[in-house]
Amino acid sequence: MRLRTVALAGAVGLVLADSSIVVLALPEIFREFDTTIAGVSWVLIVFNLVLAVLAVPGARLARHFGPGRSAAIGLAVFAGGSLVCGLSTGLGPLLTGRGVQAAGGAVAVTAALELLGTTLGSDRKAVATWVGAGAVGAAIGPGLGGLLTELVSWQSIFLIQVPIAIIAGVPLREIIIEETREWKIPQIPKAVTDRPHLPANIALALVSAAIAATLFLIVLLLIEGWRLTPIAAAAVVTVLPIAALFGSRIGGSIESVRLRASSGAILLGGGLAALGLLPKAEIIWVIPPQILAGIGLSLVLSALTEAALSGRSAAAVHGGWTIAARHAGVVVGLLILTPIFTSQLENQREDALNTGTAIVLDAPIDPTDKIALAVRISEEVDSQGDRVPDVRPAFEPLPTDPEERSAYEDVLSALEDQLDRAATHAFSASFLLSALFALLALIPIGLTRRLEL
């Protein structure tokens, strides 16, 4: 029984981790496939979109054919999708694999909620385990993905999931045999409603849009903007899950769903707003906003999921609605925010380049070398496409004369400062918009009487 619970929780964690595990690998994929930031964002969008669309049908499938069989098939499809992703040599096959992963994942996750209910003998425990496993998966995903990307390759993130998905399905053997022998579609008691909890699901969608931004934008800012390695970025974003764990302890002592959800949305909004107002391109400044956002997301997600599932029949179906709402929110968030920050990045890059050229022109460097240096910088920037450029190669080799060398180094440092400013500022509008998403969730949270359990 315990093994089955661990396997089911592991399956939920595995699938929902996939929403974020690939985040730190995106810059690597972006470079390898020579695509655009908007293009690479589809690696996230496709997964979340398919998961959102198929969560409820997947849950209905689980009720129709039996959750054990559905979960096993879902995990097998998920493993197949992961294999396609891990072996893909282009963006097209990778996106296809992501879609297959999500289709299998949608069925497996919603069926797992139904199975947890029977395995644990309590709906409340089942929901808590299901939500907790998903949160842990999503929280450790980026760090794990970053680690694998740096130590092995981005492909290893997907390949390692194949055996894990298969192993998670093994303890379902007995249930599958039982369901194959006899399976009756459960009837919905008249006392409970079958309609999804609209306000809670809308709030979940808004909050998830904000959370997607938190993970996606912070990682891109750290790796592409501030040129951190994936491992270093993973270490920085680990603050978020740690804060989320702390948040779950705070949330456990508050009965009121509305107060928990409101506090969470405000903390998430405040953290994201602070990320939109970073006063320097230094890691220390992204720590406090992550602490607030982490605590906030833990409070608001658990409260809203509880509200969405409370008093409703067919846990899998309503669990499916929460998955659909959350991942639809992620998709909407990414679709709205990606073009905003990519165009901002382009504008800011242009401004930084102009300011950088001005720095070169005003520098105490031999006049005949100035234009050559400005041109080398311009060429370096052009050769690096959409990303925030690394201009150091344009300055190499540095002059040997100490005075001249110092002048060049000053110019390089000033130019890098301008680029850091540009990269950081390019993400500002998106972070502020994400904060707005989180705060907008207060409307369905606050205005709906049905939210209280």
């Binding site: 705070i250 002592s253 107060l259 405040g270 953290g271 602070a274 406090p288 607030l292 022109l361 006049p367």
Partner: protein
């Protein structure tokens, strides 16, 4: 968070007060009260009622809500105060703003300032940034890309280059680096030089000033012509034309005559007002030696 108000020892006891001043348990009865009660033979008081768990949870929830709101506001306030709204790339300087020449006494610096003033002038005329113009200068491809990006015709670029160089001449004159006939000679050259040579003049402005008396018109004109070869320093010093065979090939046919004519058009008034006779003679000799080496 709410414990402070629920715990009688915290309410009654200060930092310096011994907690043993209170009785054990949660009755709130002090030693003195107990003595009096025992003396009166009354039964001990019942412990105060525990607040209902729901209320306690609600209070805790409200406290968390208030704390969350404050934390969010404080964090955002600190980030704004630390300069979060100003952390962006510095705005590019408006090329139409007047330029103050730094250290005009230094010839190398003057050459640089001349080039930058010219670029400012071009950028101002075209309504683009100085930096965009700089990046457009190096070769035909970059110039073509710049023209396409900004939807500019050859005529507009030609006009802007002349306007830019004239502004550089104005700035140089205002800075006291050149004056009188030098200004006139340069203006004449700017009026007639083809676009490629105008760009050479901006890129190699140092040859105008390098190693010579900038108010010596002969040297100045040599510098200008020398710059057409693109090799700073080729101009040499006064008395040496500085026009190499290669450079001579770069000078379009009739350019010398055009410069000479342009200069003569402007000379009379200038000379009458400002210049001594020998300078005029020097200018004419320099032009003669340049166009008829």
């Amino acid at each position: 968070m709410t414990r402070g108000t629920d715990d009688p020892t915290e309410v009654l006891g200060g930092d310096d007060e011994e907690p043993t001043g209170h009785l054990e348990g949660d009755t709130g009865e002090t030693e003195e009260m107990r003595t009096r009660r025992l003396a009166a033979g009354t039964p001990p008081p019942l412990p105060p009622d525990e607040p209902p768990p729901v209320d306690e949870s609600r209070q805790r929830g409200l406290a968390v809500l208030v704390a969350s709101t404050l934390a969010a506001l404080i964090l955002v306030g600190v980030y704004i105060a630390a300069g979060g709204t100003d952390y962006k790339p510095s705005a590019a300087t408006d090329p139409c703003d007047a330029r103050e020449w730094t250290d005009p006494g230094n010839l190398e610096e003057s050459a640089q300032e001349f080039a930058l003033s010219a670029v400012d002038g071009v950028a101002c005329k075209l309504g683009v940034s100085r930096e965009e113009v700089i990046r457009a200068l190096p070769d035909d491809a970059s110039r073509q890309a710049f023209m396409e990006d900004n939807d500019l015709s050859d005529e507009e670029v030609d006009e802007a280059l002349r306007a830019g160089l004239n502004r550089a001449i104005d700035d140089a004159e205002n800075a006291g680096v050149i004056n009188g006939l030098a200004v006139t000679g340069l203006r004449a050259a700017v009026r007639v030089l083809p676009v490629d040579q105008l760009i050479n003049l901006i890129e190699n402005a140092s040859v105008i000033f390098d190693g010579q008396d900038v108010n010596d018109l002969g040297g100045l004109i040599e510098g200008v012509i020398g710059s057409l070869g693109g090799e700073p320093g080729d101009s040499g010093t006064t008395g040496d034309t500085g026009v190499t065979g290669e450079t001579q090939d770069l000078i379009p046919d009739g350019l010398g005559a055009q410069i000479e004519q342009g200069l003569r058009d402007q000379l009379p008034d200038e000379i009458n007002r400002n210049l001594p006779d020998d300078l005029q003679q020097q200018a004419e000799q320099a032009l003669d030696s340049l166009v008829n080496p």
